[in-house]
């Protein structure tokens, strides 16, 4: 399962690879693999570079366990939105309403739990439903009435922001019940003997690593069963070691502070689930098909309207989830919550390899794009860069990322 998230999606076997390369050959294979998947690995390398730069500039503060934990908490909602936005953009659309929608859902949650004392699990379900209805309404106009998504969601952006202010009467409403707060700020509970690490987090991390490795091995065996070409053994092992090392590092960092944040678990589940959905489900394939060539998809029997509708419904649910996470973290619903978040989510998707014309992109890409922005935010905060300059730099980062992609494509094309 998690192969889809950790491995780069469609992982083509190098043609003619025999797996018997020796020392120097291995380096060659790695470089060759990187070159062929420039688009896939480029952003990952950029993320690594940005992390390294800020780690140096902040004298290592960026990678302190406490800060890594913070980084996750601060960016989780953008990442949740970015996943949904990636689907929308792959389908060839855009959603400008998600920032307002998160505010609306936060306000709705506050009205339910603070003003009407409804139990928080019930409120969560109602909020997700509200998001689904909002997304479905927009999806209906876009898919079945054929109104451009830019227009529909621009209207949605105004409408939902307005409803938020009506619900909150311009005030900030809080605090939330404990259970809901945990969603934004909480960590996994701790059990067992006193080690220097958070036991449950360690355990979860090890289970995850074991699972990923087993999955990769199983996948490789299946490929051989179907007598398909596989990646050479040494390259495959190198990949496994790299993935395991990356996961282990993050696990140790989180485990040496308060453990894994609850919202990270939610996010992790979403990444795995949506990665799998987009790569391996018929529904996911149909999203790529309508974004890549709508008339051809129609003539292939893809129910384009239904798929578009569901993509927007899904975006509504994810926006609701993000809205709950924001409200829980701030411990209050504010009329200005989620302002410009739609733009951050859209930027994440494009930094992560989406295309304006649709049909291209991966869930993992959206996460990498979101993390690039997140690390920039966090790193510049640590360096006490003002928000004015932060905006300038983030804008330039978006331009540079997409510019590099366009340049790279032109170079490899004609």
């Amino acid at each position: 399962m998690s192969t889809d998230v950790t491995a780069k999606s469609p992982a083509p076997a190098p043609p003619g690879g025999t797996g018997s390369a020796s020392g120097g050959g291995l380096l060659h294979l790695v470089l060759d693999g990187l070159r062929r998947n420039m688009r896939q690995y480029g952003m990952l390398l950029a993320l690594g570079l940005i992390v390294a730069l800020f780690a140096v500039w902040t004298d290592g503060d960026l990678l302190l366990p406490r800060n890594v934990s913070n980084l996750v908490l601060q960016n989780s909602y953008i990442l949740i939105l970015a996943i949904g936005m990636m689907l929308v953009i792959i389908a060839g659309h855009i959603d400008l309403s998600v920032g307002s929608l998160t505010a609306f859902v936060g306000a709705f949650a506050a009205v339910l739990t603070v003003q009407h004392d409804i139990a928080w699990p019930v409120a969560v379900v109602l909020c997700l439903l509200a998001g689904a209805v909002a997304g479905a309404a927009q999806g209906f106009f876009i898919a079945y009435l054929g109104i451009p998504s830019f227009i529909v969601t621009l209207a949605g952006m105004l409408v939902f922001r307005g409803i938020t202010e009506i619900l909150l009467e311009g005030q900030t409403l809080g605090p939330f019940p404990d259970g809901l707060q945990k969603m934004g700020n909480g960590f996994l509970p701790e059990v067992g003997p006193e080690t220097n690490y958070h036991n449950i987090t360690l355990l979860l991390g090890f289970v995850l690593i074991a699972f990923v490795v087993l999955q990769e091995l199983r996948d490789r065996k299946r490929q051989q069963e179907f007598s398909l070409d596989v990646v050479p053994l040494n390259l495959f092992l190198l990949k496994l070691v790299a993935i395991a090392a990356a996961l282990l590092t993050v696990t140790l960092l989180l485990a040496s502070y308060k453990g894994a944040p609850i919202v990270l678990l939610i996010l992790g589940a979403l990444v795995v689930g949506y990665g799998y959905l987009m790569r391996n489900s018929i529904f996911g394939r149909h999203i790529y098909a309508i974004g890549g060539n709508l008339p051809a998809a129609k003539l292939s029997g893809v129910k384009d309207k239904k798929v578009t509708f569901l993509v927007f419904l899904n975006m509504g649910v994810l926006a609701a989830l993000a809205g709950l996470a924001i409200a829980a973290r701030l411990n209050a619903a504010s009329p200005k919550a989620g302002l410009n978040y739609e733009l951050e989510a859209i930027a994440s998707a494009f930094i992560g390899g989406a295309s304006m014309s649709g049909g291209v992109g991966t869930v993992l890409g959206a996460i990498i794009g979101g993390l690039v922005l997140g690390v920039l935010n966090n790193g510049m905060n640590l360096l006490s860069v003002g928000t004015d300059w932060q905006q300038v730099i983030k804008g330039l980062a978006l331009l540079a990322a997409v510019g590099f992609d366009v340049w790279n494509k032109r170079k490899s094309g004609s």
Binding site: L228, N280, S281, I282, G292, L299
Partner: protein, 516 residues
């Protein structure tokens, strides 16, 4: 005999990883129509891009002499200043601007940035007269047909004082009538002293207008033939293009003799469809056809005959407004209101426009092949990627799709290989009836033969095949039976024995004046 106006000597053009032109020499005489002919990917278009400055001087090796002068064009403007104008296969007109605005786009009649409309319209009218167009120059380009748009392109070239006109497959999108007009115009321009280079697949066209033909194969100029020479036959040109003799242009077929009594695999009765916008107009008018298992049935017709419209309206009502008729499969009436229903009933439609309606060009070969029948490689909505890849590998071998892996984006393949992917996709869907719309359009001779073999095999396996084509020899070579259509009506039905180019063409042009 006039001297050369253009000499291209030992042109070599390399792209990263590919040598597009390895040694091309081309000599064009003053005032002639010179055809360039070769398989797709032979390098014809690249050669013309070198000549017109799309690929600037310095990016290729070799010399270009125009009117005896060594040329170093750095862009298209530079070549246009010398009077070399290229008209690309895909027309470069802005649909929502007028004819006159398009003609002078980038070259406006203006003083200090302000357009002089009187002069623009006067000059446009004069140019339109020269190319034989009577439309008003203020008509929007979107409102005239493709044939007239092609003439507007030529008017645009004339406005640039063209001396050498390059036409890249100018009649590919035109019907016979418009093609004839265009070819006549090229001859007329020749009388006015304009030299033309015409890139074409159509050998009859070359015979009609060209004085000489240069054959290009694998990036090399093979030979230049005098078209008027009686030795220059179509087979002679074809053998030059593919480098081997083609004594069989079609696979050997054992004609199908349908058993009496069994119901046809597909029968369409009284099918009528109105135009999607102009709803008074019948695009398909009371058409009834049938096809049996193992049979290949052709539909011949000129552009606008309603063949594609018939096929698409039957296939999930993807064209026009339905106005009557029934579809029967094996004698039972079926619903084909949506594409999904049509596919579920075992019908496949392979489009004539694979780039726009057939393929997701940015996606890979394997994912394009599996799209229509994803359920076949999936369990409970989850696609088994290994099985999918295996399916794709199988088609890559059996259909001889030339690509390093099945993970290659389809957009990078040549036309013939793209067509094989579209066919694979629909064969994988497992239909009983295949409607093939111009399955060999725009692909080279070798790939055509491969496609014919596939079609023949499908019929031999008991599939019913409807074969829509504009190339009569192709229909005559492949079909057991041929219907003709004209202006939306069925005008004839021929057995393999009865059909000839002349008899088909007679029925294809029938009724035309009556409906106008």
């Amino acid at each position: 005999m006039a001297g050369p106006v253009l000499e291209m000597r030992s042109i070599v053009k390399t792209f990263p990883g590919v040598k597009a032109l390895s040694d091309v020499t081309l000599t064009v005489r003053q005032g002639e129509v010179h055809a360039i002919c070769g398989e797709n990917g032979a390098g014809k278009s690249t050669l013309m891009k070198v000549l017109s400055g799309v690929h600037p001087h310095g990016s290729y090796e070799g010399e270009i002499l125009f009117e005896g002068e060594l040329c170093r064009f750095k862009d298209i403007r530079a070549s246009e200043q010398h009077g070399i104008v290229i008209i690309h296969q895909e027309l470069a007109l802005v649909p929502f601007l007028s004819i006159a605005e398009n003609i002078f786009l980038g070259n406006e009649h203006a003083t200090r940035g302000l357009i002089n409309w009187n002069e623009t319209l006067r000059h446009a009218t004069e140019l339109l007269r020269r190319v034989g167009l009577t439309d008003h120059p203020e008509t929007r380009v979107a409102d005239i047909g493709v044939g007239k748009q092609q003439l507007v392109e030529i008017a645009k070239a004339l406005s640039k004082k063209v001396k050498l006109l390059i036409l890249d497959e100018p009649t590919a999108a035109l019907n016979d009538e418009d093609s004839d007009k265009l070819l006549d115009l090229i001859l007329e321009l020749k009388n006015q002293g304009i030299t033309s280079i015409i890139i074409s697949h159509k050998l009859n066209e070359i015979r009609k207008v060209a004085d000489s033909v240069t054959i290009i194969r694998d990036g090399r100029s093979i030979e230049t033939l005098d078209v008027k020479d009686p030795g220059t036959t179509e087979d002679r040109i074809i053998s030059g293009m593919v480098g081997r003799d083609l004594d069989h242009r079609f696979p050997e077929r054992t004609p199908h003799h349908p058993e009496e009594g069994t119901a046809p695999a597909l029968e369409i009765r009284g099918w009528t469809v109105h135009h999607p916008i102009d709803q008074q107009r019948k695009v398909v008018d009371d058409v009834s056809i049938n096809v049996r298992r193992g049979e290949i049935v052709g539909i011949a017709g000129l552009m606008g005959a309603g063949r594609t419209e018939l096929a698409m309206s039957v296939f999930g009502r993807t064209y026009g407004r339905y106005a009557g008729g029934t579809v029967l499969k094996d004698g039972r009436e079926i619903r084909t209101k949506t594409v999904a229903e049509a596919v579920a009933n075992g019908i496949a439609y392979v489009t004539e426009d694979r780039k726009h309606y057939g393929l997701n060009l940015i996606d890979t070969i394997n994912r394009n092949i599996s799209l229509t029948a994803l359920a076949k490689v999936a369990k409970r909505g989850v696609v088994d990627e290994h099985e999918e890849r295996q399916v794709a590998e199988r088609f890559r071998k059996s259909m001889n799709i030339k690509a390093p892996t099945v993970f290659e984006p389809v957009g990078k393949l040549s036309g013939g290989n793209q067509q094989k992917v579209v066919l694979s996709k629909w064969i994988f869907a497992g239909p009983d009836v295949l409607i093939l719309d111009e399955p060999t359009r725009g692909i080279d001779v070798g790939a055509k033969y491969e496609i014919y073999t596939v079609i023949d095999k499908l019929a031999a396996e008991g599939k019913a095949v409807v074969f829509i084509s504009s190339e009569l020899p192709e229909l005559l070579g492949m079909c057991d039976r041929i219907y003709t259509m004209a202006a939306g009506r069925l005008t004839g039905e021929f057995s393999r024995a009865e059909a000839s180019q002349e008899s088909l063409m007679r029925q294809m042009t029938k009724d035309k004046e009556v409906t106008r």
